[in-house]
C-alpha cells in the first residue's frame, strides 16, 4: 500500500502536537496582579524585609497568593487586582527610598509549566498600553565640547613654552586647527603636543597662507566617544526608570546613537519624561579634617565654610564648601581589582582641565580625605494627611570618602573598597554623574490601557471569526478533507502561539493581523493539494493514486509559493520597524509552521483514514 504511515510519522506528529500544546498552554492562564519589590542597589530584598512586607500586607487585610524571590527582586502575587494600587502605595511608604515597588502583571503560569520553560507571549505596547520613546544621543555635543577642551589645553601648554599661536576659527564638531606665525613654531608645537594626545590625528596644513596644524579626533576615538555616550545614557536611563517603578522596562541601544525606551503600563508621559530627563550630578570635595569623623548631630550648625551631608552607608560627614571638580570633568570610571592588594578599586579618568585642577588642589593635601557627593532627584512616596503622595525630592549624599595618597592628576583610582560589588556601584554612580551627552526624544508612542485591551479584544474577535468562516467553508467545500485541513489550521495556530511564546517575540496588533492572514493563506497549501487530488480523480486515477499524486505534485508548487512569500517576510523583518516587524515575525512563523501542518500533518491523518482502504471513495 502506498499511503501507509510509518511509525515515525505518528511519533513526529504526536511530538509536535504535544510540544506545541505545552508551550502554547501558558497563554490560557491569564495574569496575577503583583508587586515587584527590589532594593535600590538592584538586589532582592532580604528575607527579613520580605517578612516585613508580608506582615504589612496582612495588617491591611490584603490577601497574598504567592511570593517569589529572584536574584533581582521579590514578586508578591495578590489575590485581588483591586488591592494592587493601595498595597503598592503603602509598601512604598513603609519601605522608604531604599526599595522600589513596581506594579506588575505577572503571568499566572503554573509552576510545572514554568519549570519546562513555558511562559505566555510577550505583548507589545499597543496591546498592553504604555509609552515608547526613541531617543537620539547628541554625540556632536560631546565631541564639540571635547574639541573646545583640547583647544584650551593646547593653548595653555603652548603659552607656557612661549610658542605664539592662535586657535583657528574653522572648528567643527570633530576637528579644529592651530595657526602659527612660522613653520618653525609649528614644528616645535607639533613636537610638544603630539605625544600627549595619541587619540588625535595631527596634520600640517596651511590656513590663509599661514602654517597651521589641523587636529582631528581619530575614528577609533570617535567610535569610543559615541559608544561611551550611548552606554552612559543607557545606564543613566536604567537608574531613572527604576525610579519610576516600572515592571519589565525595555532600554536598548538601537543603531549607532539611538536608544529605545519602552515603559509598559506607564501613562503619564510628562512625568515619565521629567524623571528620565533629570540627570544626577556629582562633586568632589575635601572633607573637613578638623571634624572627621563627624561627632555632632544632624541638626547642628556646621562651622563656617563647611556643609553637612549624610553618608550613604549611614552617619554624617562635614565637607568643605569649595567644590574641586564636578562630575562633568569625569570622562570614564571603571571598577577593577588592585593587582597588589587584591582589593576592589575604581579607576577614574578626568578631562585635561579637570586633571589640572585636581592636581593643583591635591598637591598640598596628601593625607587628607576627599569625598564624592552625589546629587539626584528621586521619587519618594510619603503619607500626607492620611493620603499617600509621590513627589520628587532632591537627594544629596556622600557615596565615597577616600584618603589622598599622593598628588592626583587626570588619572587616579579609589582603592581599598570592600568588595567588587561596591566598586561596580561606585563606578556606575560616577559615570551616572559625569557629563551626559544630551538626548532628544525623536519618536514617542503612547497607548492608553483601555485602548490596549480593546486592541486585544478586537484582534481576538477577528481571529475567532476569521477562523470560524474558513473552517465552515472548508468543511462545506472539501468535506472530510476539509475537516482534516481544519485540524491542521488549528494546529498551525497552536504552533504559532507556542513559537511566539518560546521565542518571547513581541506580539503586536499587526502581529495578530499577520496570524489572521496566515490562517487565510495556510489553507492555500491544502487547497492546492485537494484540487490536485480532484484533478487526478477526474482523470480516472484510483483513490490511493490520487492521494499520492496530489500530495506529491503539489509539493514543489507549495514550496515555491511559500519560499517567495518568506522572502517578502524576511525583507519586511530586516527593514521594518515597529508595526512592520511585528507583522513579519508572525507571518514568517506562520508560513513555516503551515508547511508542516498543511502538508505533513494532513497527510498523516489522510493516510490513517483512507490509506488502508482499497477502492475507498474519497469524501473530497
Amino acid at each position: 500500500m502506498i499511503n501507509k504511515n510509518p511509525l515515525w510519522r505518528y511519533l513526529l506528529l504526536v511530538l509536535v502536537v504535544a510540544g506545541g500544546a505545552i508551550y502554547a498552554l501558558p497563554n490560557l492562564f491569564g495574569q496575577d496582579a503583583a508587586l515587584q519589590i527590589s532594593s535600590a542597589d538592584g538586589t532582592a530584598p532580604t528575607p527579613a524585609t520580605q517578612g516585613e512586607v508580608l506582615a504589612l500586607l496582612d495588617s491591611l487585610e490584603i490577601d497574598v497568593k504567592a511570593v517569589e524571590a529572584t536574584d533581582s527582586h521579590v514578586l508578591v502575587r495578590l489575590d485581588q487586582a483591586s488591592d494592587q494600587a493601595v498595597a503598592a502605595d503603602e509598601l512604598a511608604v513603609a519601605l522608604g527610598r531604599d526599595y522600589t515597588v513596581a506594579l506588575n502583571l505577572a503571568a499566572a503560569t503554573p509552576a510545572w509549566l514554568r519549570s519546562l520553560g513555558g511562559q505566555p507571549m510577550y505583548l507589545g505596547l499597543d496591546l498592553r498600553g504604555g509609552v515608547h520613546f526613541l531617543m537620539q544621543v547628541d554625540v556632536d555635543a560631546v565631541t564639540t565640547q571635547a574639541i573646545e577642551r583640547y583647544g584650551n589645553e593646547m593653548s595653555r601648554s603652548l603659552r607656557q613654552s612661549s610658542i605664539a599661536h592662535q586657535v583657528g576659527d574653522d572648528a567643527t564638531a570633530t576637528a579644529f586647527s592651530l595657526v602659527f606665525e612660522g613653520a618653525d613654531a609649528r614644528d616645535a608645537a607639533e613636537a610638544q603636543i603630539t605625544p600627549e594626545y595619541p587619540e588625535l590625528v595631527f596634520e600640517q596644513v596651511e590656513v590663509n597662507g599661514q602654517p597651521a596644524l589641523s587636529i582631528a579626533i581619530s575614528e577609533d576615538e570617535l567610535r569610543e566617544i559615541r559608544n561611551f555616550a550611548v552606554e552612559q545614557n543607557i545606564i543613566t536611563l536604567r537608574n531613572r526608570v527604576n525610579e519610576l517603578g516600572v515592571a519589565e522596562p525595555v532600554i536598548q541601544r538601537q543603531g549607532a546613537d539611538r536608544i529605545v525606551v519602552q515603559l509598559p503600563g506607564v501613562q503619564d508621559t510628562a512625568r515619565a519624561k521629567e524623571i528620565i530627563g533629570a540627570t544626577a550630578t556629582l562633586e568632589f570635595r575635601m572633607v573637613d579634617e578638623a571634624n572627621f569623623p563627624y561627632r555632632g548631630r544632624p541638626g547642628d550648625i556646621p562651622p563656617p565654610g563647611t556643609e553637612l551631608f549624610p553618608e550613604r552607608q549611614g552617619g554624617y560627614v562635614l565637607l568643605e564648601r569649595q567644590i574641586i571638580i564636578t562630575g562633568d570633568a569625569i570622562t570614564d570610571a571603571q571598577s577593577g581589582i588592585d593587582t597588589q592588594t587584591g582589593r576592589a578599586e575604581v579607576n577614574i579618568r578626568l578631562s585635561g582641565a579637570g586633571g589640572n585642577v585636581m592636581n593643583r588642589v591635591t598637591g598640598g593635601r596628601v593625607g587628607d580625605h576627599m569625598a564624592v557627593l552625589f546629587k539626584e532627584t528621586e521619587i519618594q512616596a510619603r503619607r500626607v494627611n492620611d493620603e499617600i503622595v509621590r513627589e520628587q525630592v532632591q537627594v544629596e549624599e556622600v557615596i565615597n570618602i577616600a584618603r589622598i595618597q599622593e598628588q592626583l592628576g587626570s588619572r587616579f583610582r579609589i582603592t581599598g573598597l570592600d568588595n567588587p560589588m561596591e566598586a561596580r556601584n561606585l563606578a556606575l554612580l560616577l559615570r551616572a554623574g559625569s557629563l551626559a551627552a544630551p538626548v532628544q526624544i525623536i519618536e514617542e508612542r503612547t497607548i492608553g490601557p483601555s485602548l490596549g485591551q480593546e486592541n486585544i479584544n478586537q484582534g481576538m474577535a477577528a481571529v475567532g471569526v476569521a477562523f470560524l468562516l474558513v473552517i465552515l467553508f472548508m468543511v462545506m467545500y472539501y468535506r472530510v478533507f476539509g475537516l482534516i485541513a481544519n485540524l491542521a489550521l488549528l494546529l498551525n495556530l497552536v504552533l504559532i502561539m507556542a513559537v511566539l511564546s518560546m521565542l518571547q517575540a513581541t506580539l503586536t496588533l499587526p502581529g495578530i493581523a499577520g496570524i489572521v492572514l496566515t490562517v487565510g493563506m495556510a489553507v492555500d497549501a491544502n487547497v492546492l493539494i485537494y484540487e490536485r487530488i480532484r484533478e487526478e480523480l477526474r482523470s480516472g486515477s484510483s483513490a490511493q493514486k490520487a492521494i499520492e499524486a496530489g500530495y506529491g505534485k503539489a509539493l514543489s508548487t507549495i514550496a515555491d509559493a511559500n519560499v517567495t512569500t518568506l522572502i517578502a517576510a524576511v525583507v519586511l523583518f530586516a527593514f521594518g520597524t515597529g508595526p512592520v516587524k511585528g507583522f513579519a515575525v508572525t507571518l514568517s512563523i506562520g508560513i513555516v509552521s503551515s508547511m508542516f501542518t498543511a502538508i505533513f500533518g494532513t497527510r498523516v491523518v489522510v493516510n490513517a483514514i483512507y490509506g488502508s482502504r482499497r477502492g475507498a471513495k474519497l469524501a473530497i
Binding site: G448, M474, D524, L572
Partner: protein, 311 residues
Amino acid sequence: MDFFKRETQIDFMAHRVRAALITVGFIVLAVAVLFFRGLDFGLDFTGGTLVEVGYPQAVDLAEVRQTLESAGFDQAVVQTFGTARDVLIRLPSDVGAGDAVSNEILGVLRAAEPNAELRRVEFVGPQVGAELAEKGGLALLYALGGILIYVAFRFEYRFAIGAVAAVAHDVVITLGIYALIGMTFDLTVLAALLAVIGYSLNDTIVVFDRVRENFVRVRKGSSIELVNRSINQMLPRTLVTSLTTLLVLIALFVLGGELIRGFALALIIGVVVGTYSSIYVAGSAALALGVSREDLVPPVKEGEDLEEETP
C-alpha cells in the same frame, strides 16, 4: 461541494491583448491619481504629533476644532476615528514635540469636557519620518529584487520578469486606489502592501509552476494553449484561496478595529487585484517575452513521470 465539476475551458489568452490594454489603462490611471492627488501619508512618514482622545459620549467635531483653535492650535486636523466618541487630532511636526503638545491638547480638551480620556499619543520627529519612508521604500525594492532572483533561479528569467511585472502592477494599482479614496498611508499599510506582494506572488508562482509542468509533460499544443490550459487547471485553486483569504480579511476589516482597518483594506484590494494580475499580467508578460517549451529544459524533479498526453 465543488464549484468546478470539470476543468474549465475559458480562453483567457484570447483576450490578452484587450486585457493588456485595460491593464495599461488602469496603471496609467493609477499613476495619474498618485501624481495629481497623491497619497495621504500618515504620521509615520510625515512626522508630527497625533493625539487620540476618547469621550464618554458622541462629540461635535466643530466644537473640538473651536476649542483647539482658541488655544492656538489652528493647524490641528480633527477627525473622528471609528466611532463618534473617538477623536483624532493631528498636528504637523513644526508645532512642537511630543508630550508638551499632547499634554497641552489634553488639558485644553479636558477643560471643555473633564471626562475626555487620552487613548493614544504618537510623536514622530521629522528626521525619523524621513527615515521610515526611506526604509519602507527600500524594503519594497529589496523584496521585489529578492523575488526576481528566486523566480529567475527556480524558473526562468522571463517568468521572473512576468512575476515582478504582476507584483509591480498590484502595488501600483493598490496605491492608486488608496490615493483615490484618500485613506491614510502609514507603516501598517506599507506592511500590508508587502504582504500583497507575497500573496500575489504566491498566486503567480502557482500558475507558473503548472505552466512549467505542462510545457514539460504535454508534447502538443502551442505555448498560448498551454498557458491557457494551466490557468484553467489552477482556476479552482486560485478562486478558493482568494475566497478564504478574503473571508479572513473581511473579518479583520469589520472586527479588527480602526487601527487595523487600513491594513485590511489594502490587503483586500491587493488580493482582488493580485488574483487578476496572476492570470493576465504574469501569464501575458511571460508569453509576450516569448517563453517557449525549449526554454524549459526538463528540470530535475523527483517523481515526475514524463507521460505523453494529448491536450
